[in-house]
Each structure stands twice: as C-alpha cells, then as structure tokens.
Symmetry: C2
Subunit: 272 residues, 2 copies
Amino acid sequence: MNAQQLYEQIRRKQSFLCVGLDSDVSKLPAHLQREPHPMLTFNKAIVNATAPYAVAYKPNVAFYEACGAAGWVQLEQTVRYIRRRYPSMLIIADAKRGDIGNTSRLYAEAFFGKMDVDAVTLSPYMGRDTVQPFLEYAGRWAVLLALTSNPSASDFELMPTGASGEMLYERVLKTSMTWGNTDNTMYVVGATKAEMLSNIRRIAPEHFLLVPGVGEQGGSLGEVAKHGMNSRCGLLVSSSRAIIFADSSENFASAAGKKAREMQQQMAGHLR
Amino acid sequence: MNAQQLYEQIRRKQSFLCVGLDSDVSKLPAHLQREPHPMLTFNKAIVNATAPYAVAYKPNVAFYEACGAAGWVQLEQTVRYIRRRYPSMLIIADAKRGDIGNTSRLYAEAFFGKMDVDAVTLSPYMGRDTVQPFLEYAGRWAVLLALTSNPSASDFELMPTGASGEMLYERVLKTSMTWGNTDNTMYVVGATKAEMLSNIRRIAPEHFLLVPGVGEQGGSLGEVAKHGMNSRCGLLVSSSRAIIFADSSENFASAAGKKAREMQQQMAGHLR
C-alpha cells in the first residue's frame, strides 16, 4: 500500500485510527483465558468490531513473544486473519527492530515476506544499513522511531547535537528522509509531545506520522490533529488499551467497537 | 551470573569467547536441511563441539524469528539445551529490543522469565525506562548497544552532542552507567572500531564489553585485547560465521570446535 492508497482509505472511512493489538494475555477477559488461542480469539473479535472505524492495526510483537512460540503463532494467525478478511487494512508490526545489514535483511523477510505485514517499526540508533533492507520491498513501510512518547525519550532523543544544536530526533528525521521516500517511510511521534509535531511537520511535511499515546498516555487528539495534520491527513493515530480493554466482560468486543466509533467520529471532525 | 562469576569462568577456561548462534537455516549443512528441527540439531552439535572453548553463547533472535513459530521453538529449545547441559555458560539473546516501560517489562519477562537467558541486547534510543525493567532481574544482564560494528554506525552513534561535543555513543555510555552497575550492564562495542576501545575503557573501566565482528567483520583479536581488556578481562569476544560455518559438510561440528579452539588459544595468550 502506498501513501495515496492509505490516504484514500482514510478519506473513505473518515478515520485515521490505528488500533493497537497489544493483547496482553493477562488482561484478556476471563472467559477467554480458557481458550486454546486466547489472543487470537480476542483479536478476531476486536478486529471485527472495530474494522469499520479503523484503517490500520498495530500488534506490538512483545505481547506475543511473551507467550513464546504459541504467542508467535497467534500473531501470525492474527495477521493472516486481517489480511484475508480486510485486505485494504494497513498492518503494522510494532517490533522496534534494527540490526546490522544481513540481519536486518532477515528481519525484513520475516515480517514482510513470511508474516506479510505492511509495515514494521524500527529503531534508528544503528543507522542507515539497519533500515535499508526494509525499504527494498515495494509497497511496504519502515516506521522509524523519531520522538517517542515515554518519559525517558528525553535521555537521548531530545539531546542537542552538532554545531546546529538540533535535537537527535530532528537529525534522525532529516538524515533518514534521504534514505527512502514518502511511500516507504513513516515516523513514530508520541502524542505526549504534540507541541513538537509542528516542528516535525516543518521537517517532514509529507511523511505519514504514526502517533501512539492518544488517550492512554495523555495525548489529545485535537492537539495532534492541529499540529500534525497535512493536506493528505498524514497521520495514523494509534490507540490500544483505551479501545481493546474498554470492557473486560463478555461484551469486550462491542465496547471496543463503540470506543473505536467514538474516536472515528472525532477524527471525522478533524478531516473536514 | 554476576561479573565475578563470569570472570571466574573466563579464567578457568582461559577464554573469553562467545559463540554467535546465528544459525541461518539457509546456510546449514545440506544433510541437516531435511531434519524436522534443523537449527536445533545444528546448534546442539555446535554447542557440544565448542563448549570447552567458550564461556558464552549468543543466538541472534532474527535468525529464529525468520522461521516464524517453528524458529521460536528451536530458539527456546536451544537455550534449554545449553542451560541444562552447560549450566555455567552465559546465554545472551541478541534481540536489540527496547520499548516503552510496560512493554519492555514484557520483553524482560519473555527473555529472562520464560526463555531463561542470562542477557539481552537492547537499543538505547528510547532512554532509561526502556532498559530499567531488564535491570530488575538479579543475576541477569542488559547489554546496551553503544558503538556497533556496522558501517552506518557513523550516522548517529558518532554524532557529536551537546556543548562538550561528546559523541552519542559516549553519552549513551555515561548516561546509562548511572542506571545499573557492573553486575547487570554490559555494552556492545564493535571490533571494527578497536581504536575507540581505549576511549570506551576510560569511560567504563569496569564494565564487560561484548565485542562482535572479530574475524568476519574485519576486527582483530589482538587489537581488541590491547585496547579493551581490563584487570578482570572485561571482554566477551563474539564470533559467529567464522566458527559455526567453518565447514558446510557433515564435519561441520568438528570444524567449528577446531576453530573455537584456535580462538581460545589466542585468547589464552592475551589472558596471561
């Protein structure tokens, strides 16, 4: 999926919602804990309830790896389920990978070739050759960490660098923008730093930004839209716990759908 | 395992060799390709042949993830095999993880709790709260990327920062040294940057350094030992392809053992 196709989905659905499938097995509704594949069962129900209101799903790989091989199977099957049932959905593996060239090539093949997701989040620390292999798959995306939503983002990401004093995240943006293009590169920008979105938009006016932390981490959708939107929207706002764990009873899926619909309606207001 | 225990293993075996189990399934000897668990079978033979000469094993998780759930199972079983058969061996999951606090907590539990490795490599980009959960397991290690061996390490790791002009990797060292201690924190330092090891030793005189890239990426053991060793050795030198793929015939394991023994003998010379 390229940027124009993603934008068309956003316009059609009047939504730039990415649902985070951070399906922590210990937090699933009690009645699912007895299932043989609780995360998969949960994800299917969540996806079916929220699909009308979302343009993307983002499983964080950690929640699946934490269950070992059984978790990995449920991640693969979740991706396969979304791919078959909702083929126009963007699927982002939130993996925050990054390794030397040959190894990154393997990760790219694992996620794009084998698992068949559209996008993978990557850590930029080791530089270009750790990202390059992900840019070589047509229609797929490298989603680079730029300015994250966690408190310790300030340890290094906000550190001034070089003679210009630009912060590390700004250097990451400017440097990595020369590696790919607006059809294969996105950036992670935490919603808790919404006031910095204007600055990021100056640096990267055309790139899609993946913005986690709206809702659960204190970010505001209005602020994100105000500072981060461009002429083709250019935003994917990710929400996880606030949607998928909106209700822990047997009605979890319809509660998630209701919550996703509320967010979609707010988003529609910003898209007009 | 704490630093003193690791040092005792190094002294006893006269080796600071870490064997990288980067068991790329496409590179395994042909006769193993027909096995149901080719990577596991390969790893067991490699471990048995090299264990007398090594103090640590480091599977790079990418090579297992590339095979999906089946690969993950073989990684888990490899770790279990080493743990049972060679209980004094340090096992490092080369995963280069790093995520916001709650998610890092899950990764820490996945690797330390469930998989039972001693150490995990981590990317420092997102700062302290992404590393902290790994520091809370007694006897386990966070191995932070500082200065990596890939060509693009210069993109950001060697970038001058702040008023002092210290390079990013120096800031990562100095800042992260305040998070943990010499019994739970190591650093990845590429052997291709051996001349910078003296500088790193000035900054972190007591920490263990995990040094990949000797042999296959052009680093020299002599240079690494000269610039990087401290009074308790303080080094783990990792070699992968040069050992595990020394021979692609049915004699692969004895060839790996021979290669590991050669490296051990060179290391013994540096330990005297």
